[in-house]
Structures are given as structure tokens and as C-alpha cells.
Symmetry: C2
Subunit: 339 residues, 2 copies
């Protein structure tokens, strides 16, 4: 599909292909937001899925995210666990385990580095020994581009990490790409923009601003918009999951780093309006950035993800209004379990 | 001096300024090649120097490198030592401590990361508490540019680390730059090209190819040139030391990352000829790259260091023939102690 500019909307429907049926798949960070989303999609396609998760309190990891799924959940920290038996003969790895809080990375950068880079080296070594041919799709981030020097941001944008999390996430990604270049493992790194959807973390603003907005609006409370004019492209869970599956399914992606963007960019103020509209009501207040956030804020961002679209045929299938409505509808009856 | 295109040759003479007299300076990796070179220069200028070195066997660190100097040598590993008393009230830090072997980084990337990134976080934290205003000049590397996409390589060149060492060294540098951006510490990062001179490691080819050439030619043995057509710019110790001092002395450099290059680029074959000529005789053989090296070889490299020249007035004052002759003359009577 290289060079095809018009995505085929049918490409995102992986089920018809049956290619995940019976395959042994590892999902790290499998009890978290995106990891559990992948587990749901893979289980639905008949894969034999093992989810590894350190179940760190406060990160959003929860066994409830996998409730009812035929997925083995192993509580294991990549930094310390014996990874060999978990890696043995797996055919694909979706690597979502990460420390994702920007604020936490500044308060404890060594912990952030140990999860986002050192633990990656352990997983790389275990897979090299136990599953040398497995394809790995690594969850990377737009974070290390820093403040955008131009928009939209493509993969050639300079890497200027605005916080410790960006430093360690870039290191982790680069270790995986080395594993491709030096040891020929098929590795794809997807640099994600802000993602949202069912099972996202909504308790507070430690990981994303949108989570706490969802919580507040569902509680009937006003939420705070910091700044307001910054642009963001938001990616809905199902589209992100689709991107991960296509990355694993497309041999031509191996060795690639791709931006994975979302729906058309909106300002935070427009996003706040869309949240209120999707909820059928709600209020928010626009505030100045708190000082500790301002130092690491990146301003406007939206991704140029044409390279990934062209390599795989992927395209987001959920607009912002629809995605927000689905997210709010999913959380409304489950709100108490996510606070 | 910003914007001055013609370097003033007098600028490199720091002694006349007396500005290091009595200043409390920390040099990490102070018993190694470049670190000890800085200790010599700082002691000569009357600074009160503490050298920290983990004295890891095989890295080139040696108390003999500081013999006779009024420099306090503290054996301390940045990963474990209590750094607070060492950092208390220092006015300048030259941060040379590093794992620098590319091959070792591939064999044990976790150790490489712990020295080049995790230990940096410990030093950053200790300095934040004990010496919040100290200027830091960090020894970075051209290594993480990877295979040059254009020549000469300027600071805007993409970061594509070709080995684990490049990944960790980039992370370490970026933590220091964050310390400037978030906490306003004056930090300058110098991305070094291949450096050579007195006290360099010459035992084997673990750190540089030129070291083993120096050893072999002084022993009257043939040395091996791998490849031969790759270009390199070689920086002589005194010029590198001069660059570090100027970086610390120039307030306008704070927050900058600068390439620090060397003399005009030559091919490895030309360099081999220059080594033989400087020695007044010798032989070498040109060989294919060994397979394990080829995977992480970067081809030709030479640095565009105009930004640093313009910011500081720095220029290399030692041509290749002169630098090689001074290096060989220095090692000739001391060869046995460096094997």
C-alpha cells in the first residue's frame, strides 16, 4: 500500500482477515487505558492474549478494564519480573507499559527513566532470547517534539523534549529502533497524540487534561480550561487501537517511526464546547496556566500523520463529536468505578 | 563576541584573565582523558579543583593522570555516592563522567544508561540543592547524530542514535538542558567530535580507533585501519579544553548545545599517513570493517561548529600534524604506564 494517498476505509476492519486468530500476543501495560483497549480488540479477534501490568496505583491500570475478557492478566513490573516465560514464543508485542505523567516525570525523573527506558532494555533482552521474530509495536509519543516549530508536526521535526518524560520516552523508542537496525526485529514505533475514550484515566489531571474534564462534566461540575487557544488533535481509542493492529499487520512498516494523529485539530476552548455539547450540558471556566505547568507546556500541537496513512491505509474513523459522545456514554453508568 | 566571524586567536588564552583564580570547580570523570586535561588547565589557572572519578578499570581513569597537581581526587561513582558535600558551593562544573565505549554500550546498555543518564539525574538533583547558580559545561557527543545525512553536520541534524551509547548520551544531555529551561541553571552542552592527545586511552580500540594506532606505532607494530575512506575531524586535547573553559566563561552560551569540532577533516587513510609521518615511521594495513562494528559504524563525519566559534571566539589552534606529534612525543617516554 506504499504510496496510496487515499485510505481505503475498509482497511481498518481487521476482523474479516482472521489473522489474529490463535496468535500468541503480549500486551504490556495491558490493564491501562490503551493497553486494555488493545486487549479487547485482540480478544475479539481470537488472539491468545497475555496482558502484563505492574498495576501501579494511580496510573489508571485496573483489572476491571479487562473484566470478562479471555485475557490472562499477569501482575509484573518490567523492571524486576522474570520476563523470559512471559516472552517465550510470542508472535506479537504491543508495548504500552509506560510512566505517562509529565508532572510525575519532573518530580521523579529517575523513576520515569527506569520505566520508560531501563525497563525497555529488559524487555528487549528477554524478547531477543525468547521470541526473536515477534513483531513489536511500541507506544511512543508526540511529547518529545516539544513546542512545535511548525504545524502540523511531521516525523522530521526536531526532538526537543520539554520535560523528563519526553527525554525517557525518546530513549525508550530509540532502543527499540536499534533492535530493528542491529538485530533486524520488526519494530514499529507509533508517536501518539492525545488519546481519549472508554477506560481512560479521569480521576485527575495527572495524565491528561481531557480526563478530568470528562469527570467534572459527568459530575455536573464546572471544569477548568488552562489557556484555551492551544490546538490539539484528539485520537479516539478505537482509531488508536486500529493503528496499532495495522502497524503489526503491515510488514512495510518495520523499522518505521510514525506519528499517529487524531481528528481535525481544535482549540482547547472548542474542545471544551464539544465536551459540553456531547454531554448535553455543562460549564467550564478558562484559567491562566498554573506556573508549574507553564514551564513544560508545549503550546499548540497537531500531527502530520500522512506517512502512517500512506504506509497502512489507516485513517481515523471517529470524529470528535462522536468520540466524545461515545466516551461520555461509556463512563456515565460507570463513573463511580473510575474515581 | 556574538556574530563575530573572525575568531580572535588571543581569546583562547584564558590565563591572562585570572578569572579561575580561587574558584571552586568540580570536574566529573576528572581522572580520565579529557577530565584530567581540564584539571591540568584549571589548576594552572589557580582554581580549587575537585576531581570526581569512579575509577572504573579499563576506562582510562588513572590517578597518574593528575600526578603532581594541586587537585583533590575523590573516588566516587555518581550513581551511588553522596554527592551533596561534593557539590556544595561549587561555582563551575565540567561534567565529563561517562561510559564512552560504543561496543560496551551494546553489550550492556543498562550499565551505559545508568552512567550516562541516571547518574546525571543524581548530579542534577545534588547541584540543584547545593549549588543552584553553578555553571555546568556538559560533555556531549556527535555520536547521536548517527550516520551523517549531510556534511558538515550542524546542530540541527536529526538525532538518530546508531548505538545504545548514543541513546543514553542524548538523554543525559537533554536532562541538563531541561535544567536550564525549567530551573534557569546556566548549562552549555558541547557535542564533541573524536578527541585525542596526551593521556588518551591507547590500550585497545574500545573507546577510539586512534588510541590503538598511537600504541601500535609507538611499539613499532603495524596498526589496522578499518575502512579507510571515512572522513573525521580530530580535536586536539588543548583545543577541547579551551572550548570547555570558554563555554563556562561566556554567559551568552547558557542553554546552548554546540558542536565542538577539530582540525580540517581527513580520511582515515590520510590520518594513518599523518600518524606515521608524525612518528617518523610506521606501518599500517587497511582492512574491512569487523561485522560487529559495521552494524554501528556511522561512515564519514565532520562537524559544523560555526555556532560555537561565533558565540565564543573559539577556534582550534593545533593542526593535525602538530597535535599528533605532540601526542606521540608525550606518550613515547610514558608508553608502559598506559598499556
Amino acid at each position: 500500500m506504499n504510496g496510496a494517498r487515499e485510505p481505503d476505509p475498509g482497511r481498518n476492519d481487521h476482523r474479516r482477515e482472521g489473522r489474529w486468530q490463535g496468535r500468541r500476543v503480549l500486551v504490556t501495560g495491558g490493564a491501562g487505558f490503551l493497553g486494555s483497549g488493545l486487549c479487547h480488540a485482540l480478544a475479539e479477534r481470537g488472539a491468545r492474549v497475555t496482558a502484563i501490568d505492574a498495576m501501579v496505583p494511580g496510573t489508571g491500570a485496573s483489572a476491571a478494564n479487562l473484566a470478562g475478557l479471555p485475557v490472562e492478566l499477569v501482575e509484573a513490573d518490567l523492571r524486576t519480573a522474570d520476563l523470559a516465560p512471559l516472552c517465550r514464543d510470542v508472535e506479537a508485542v504491543f508495548n504500552l507499559a509506560a510512566q505517562t505523567s509529565h508532572m510525575d516525570s519532573m518530580a521523579d525523573p529517575a523513576n520515569d527513566l527506569s520505566v520508560n527506558a531501563l525497563a525497555q532494555l529488559r524487555l528487549i533482552a528477554a524478547l531477543r532470547a525468547e521470541a526473536p521474530a515477534a513483531v513489536v509495536v511500541h507506544a511512543s509519543t508526540r511529547q518529545f517534539y516539544g513546542r512545535a516549530q511548525y504545524l502540523p508536526v511531521d516525523e522530521r521535526h526536531p526532538v526537543v523534549p520539554p520535560d523528563a518524560n519526553g527525554v525517557a520516552k525518546f530513549a525508550g523508542e530509540q532502543y527499540w529502533l536499534l533492535e530493528h537496525r542491529v538485530h533486524r526485529r520488526p519494530v514499529v514505533s507509533l508517536r501518539l497524540t492525545n488519546c481519549y475514550g472508554p477506560r481512560m484515566r479521569i480521576r485527575d489531571h495527572r495524565q491528561t487534561f481531557l480526563g478530568i474534564w470528562v469527570r467534572r462534566v459527568l459530575e455536573g461540575e464546572p471544569f477548568e480550561v488552562w489557556g484555551g487557544e492551544q490546538l490539539r488533535d484528539l485520537a479516539y481509542l478505537d482509531d488508536v487501537v486500529s493503528g496499532f493492529l495495522l502497524a503489526a499487520e503491515t510488514p512495510g512498516c518495520a523499522g518505521g517511526t510514525y506519528n499517529l494523529g487524531g481528528a481535525s485539530p481544535v482549540s482547547l476552548r472548542q474542545l471544551a464546547e464539544a465536551v459540553v455539547a456531547a454531554n448535553g450540558g455543562g460549564t467550564y471556566a478558562v484559567r491562566e496556566f498554573p506556573a508549574d505547568r507553564k514551564a513544560i507546556d508545549i503550546g499548540s500541537f497537531h500531527a502530520d500523520d500522512r506517512a502512517f496513512r500512506e504506509a497502512t491505509g489507516w485513517a481515523p474513523r471517529h470524529g470528535l463529536a462522536e468520540g466524545l459522545r461515545m466516551t461520555l456514554d461509556w463512563f456515565r453508568p460507570r463513573l463511580a468505578s473510575y474515581l
